[in-house]
């Protein structure tokens, strides 16, 4: 089922002649139960796109519609029941507990004083449970870790009971385990509840593994959409990220740092030790090449019994070290 449709959307700031257009004619679609990651370098307009879809800033042209209704023409009240957001804003609410925050997620449905009925309370409870912080239900937000706080805000978005949840960089400021946890949680929400989740992120490796679709936003190519695998096959990452001395490795889905080499050295060896040695040398501007028969001087990774790195010249061992640090120092000296 198609949930969100973006049609020739132009995003940017200002009005009329003085409008500053960030992107023009963006097209994208999102289906029920999908986790979509919006990727792009800083300054390419990720946040602007997110804010426009959320209705925080007007679109310059085109439309974004959800289930056939134009999102950009809804009142706050109706929009609140269609899309829930989690923002990067660092919110400090004095005294608020997890339960109270998540309870505010029911606001679009409550009356003048915002009092929760039994059904609301049940939804609040399950939302907190789904996010795995039930044990922190009565805890103050100020006493939570960054990851737990983010989960509390995701629970708030769940309690809002919308078809789509939009998150602006939910994994920023978090440490690695917390990032993975948040991504897993969002993955789970999309798969199990049938909600569509749209998130912007810089965590390319996690996005490649967990997202159903990626939206790649770049200055040159506007918005590219597709499954991570299709985009890899089409080599789209390479073209988007290739400037600034970084290379994208399609096989691993990781960025590789490009080095300037000023020295080459033949190395004999293989396996994990060799890979690590190569990386340490590359960092120091030394390129490791495979030892050929005619080389008179080479370095060898020996693993008979104990790990050691040996320097050979004309078949004789002229130096031996047992750690990469020492062999690197020796190499630079030679």
């Amino acid at each position: 089922m198609e949930i969100l449709q973006i049609n020739k959307l132009s995003i940017g700031y200002g009005k009329g002649k003085r409008a500053k257009i960030v992107h023009e004619k963006l097209d994208a679609k999102m289906y029920a139960g999908e986790l979509v990651c919006l990727l792009g370098e800083n300054g390419t307009g990720k946040s602007t796109l997110i804010r426009t879809i959320c209705g925080f800033q007007p679109a310059l042209d085109g439309e974004a519609s959800m289930l056939g209704k134009n999102l950009l023409q809804q009142s706050e009240k109706d929009l609140a029941k269609m899309a829930a957001v989690v923002l990067t804003d660092r919110v400090i609410v004095p005294n608020a507990t997890v339960e109270e925050l998540v309870g505010l997620g029911r606001s679009p449905y409550t009356g003048t004083f915002g009092i929760l009925n039994d059904e609301d309370k049940q939804i609040v409870h399950t939302s907190i449970e789904k996010c795995g912080i039930l044990h922190k239900k009565k805890e103050r937000l100020a006493n939570l870790s960054d990851g737990e706080k983010q989960k509390a805000f995701i629970a708030k978005a769940l309690a809002q009971d919308t078809k789509i949840i939009i998150l602006d960089e939910p994994t920023a400021f978090l440490d690695m385990p917390a990032r993975v946890e948040i991504m897993q949680l969002l993955r789970q929400i999309a798969s199990q509840s049938g909600k569509s989740v749209l998130m912007s992120t810089h965590d390319l490796d996690l996005a490649l593994q967990m997202a159903d679709k990626l939206w790649l936003l770049s200055a040159q190519k506007a918005l590219l959409t597709g499954t991570p695998e299709d985009l890899l096959l089409k080599n789209e990452f390479q073209s988007i990220f290739q400037n600034r001395g970084i290379e994208f490795d399609n096989k691993t889905g990781l960025f590789r740092v490009g080095y300037d080499y000023n020295m080459e050295i033949p190395v004999k060896g293989h396996g994990f030790e060799y890979v690590l040695l190569r990386r340490a040398f590359a960092r120091n501007g030394i390129k490791t090449i495979r030892k050929k028969d005619e080389d008179s001087q080479w370095l060898e990774v020996c693993r008979n019994g104990k790990l050691s790195f040996k320097y050979f010249q004309n078949g004789e061992c002229i130096g031996q070290e047992e750690s990469i640090e020492d062999v690197l120092a020796l190499t630079l000296k030679l």
């Binding site: 209705g55 925080f56 804003d89």
Partner: protein, 348 residues
């Protein structure tokens, strides 16, 4: 939740009891001690009471108590609304520039007329009081209208705050200009006005004042849902279905009205509006503005009554100006709260 509601109701019950106790103390204590039995006779049973006591109670202490109660309540609530709207712990009723507008209005009447028309204001007697209140209301009303207009036209909450503060500076500069060219006696009167007082109203007027401060203060609970949402920031509030512009309009209108009324009848009372909301948050430990507003109302009234009591401590020849007392009590509270918050923020 039960535990929490328990805490809130305990705090509110205690605050109500404290308030009642302070009302009583305000009637009993002063340069002349009046026994409770006499007060009962004067106010409730209508029994024969000491004429002098009756005079003191009905003409001085009762109106003063009623005015302090209403003013404190209004300032506490108004300050809470401003702190939440602007998400700033140092915001208070004065940030919108409304009390400055009020001061400017009063300065205009007290100083400018004296200068131009060639009479000092004290010579006008009762009409003078009326003119002061009237000009103060006009000044406050004009600024409030301007701020509401700006908040409607301009998007950001921060811009409203900055413009409010700037209006404050502008009117202070006009006031100092007026002061500079005014006769000393007028300036002295103006300074006295600026020190604030709860004893400028007669019994009937005090009752009126109390009604038009207490009722809107309690009605402000209708703003509790928008305030709860605004505490999350404008964007989250909007995403939860709040019409930000309309909510901001009503919040400013309420807070502005309360501040304008209090300033016009009592002068610019400082610190109660900044300190009381912090006390309310600290004691009730809730983020729900329904309870926070009620708490700020009760604690505001209690604080004003306490200040009033200190201002005319028994054994003193003359009453102290109310603002020197409020600052003396309010400033340490604000420092203490900021200190505590600083510690908490480290966790956030």
């Amino acid at each position: 939740m039960i535990h929490k509601l328990g805490r809130i109701s305990i705090v509110m019950t205690l605050a109500t009891l404290l308030l009642a106790f302070l009302v009583l103390l305000n009637l009993v204590l002063g340069s002349i001690h009046i026994p409770i039995s006499e007060i009962k006779a004067i106010l409730f049973t209508g029994d024969e009471a000491n004429r002098i006591f009756e005079n003191i109670i009905l003409k001085t202490r009762l109106p003063q108590t009623i005015v302090a109660l209403g003013a404190g309540m209004a300032l506490g609530v108004s300050g809470l609304l401003m702190q939440t709207l602007f998400r700033n712990p140092l915001a208070g009723p004065s940030v919108l520039g409304i009390s400055s507008g009020s001061s400017l209005g009063v300065a205009f009447v007290m100083l400018f007329t004296g200068n131009i028309l060639g009479f000092t204001f004290t010579s006008l007697g009762g009409w003078g009081d009326f003119a002061v209140v009237f000009s103060s209301l006009i000044g406050a009303g004009l600024v409030l209208a301007l701020i509401l207009f700006i908040s409607h036209k301009i998007g950001g909450t921060l811009s409203v705050l900055i413009i409010g503060v700037m209006i404050g500076y502008l009117s202070s500069s006009l006031v100092s200009l007026l002061k500079f060219y005014s006769p000393e006696e007028d300036v002295h009167n103006y300074v006295i006005w600026g020190l604030g007082s709860f004893s400028r109203l007669t019994s009937d007027r005090a009752l009126m004042f109390c009604l038009i401060t207490v009722i809107p203060s309690l009605l402000a609970t209708f703003l509790s849902k928008p305030l709860n949402l605004l505490a999350l920031g404008d964007r989250y509030a909007a995403n939860l279905g709040l019409n930000i512009k309309r909510a901001r309009f009503f919040i400013i209108a309420f807070a502005g009205f309360l501040t304008a009324i209090v300033t016009s009848f009592c002068g610019p009372i400082i610190f109660i509006g900044v300190a009381v909301p912090h006390l309310a948050k600290l004691l009730s430990k809730t983020s729900n503005h329904f309870y926070l507003i009620l708490n700020a109302a009760l604690l505001g009234a209690a604080t004003a009554l306490l200040c009033n009591l200190i201002a005319r401590m028994p054994g003193m020849e003359q009453e102290m100006p109310i603002n020197s007392v409020t600052a003396f009590i309010g400033a340490p509270v604000v420092i203490w709260v900021i200190w505590k918050r600083r510690k908490e923020n480290r966790l956030e």
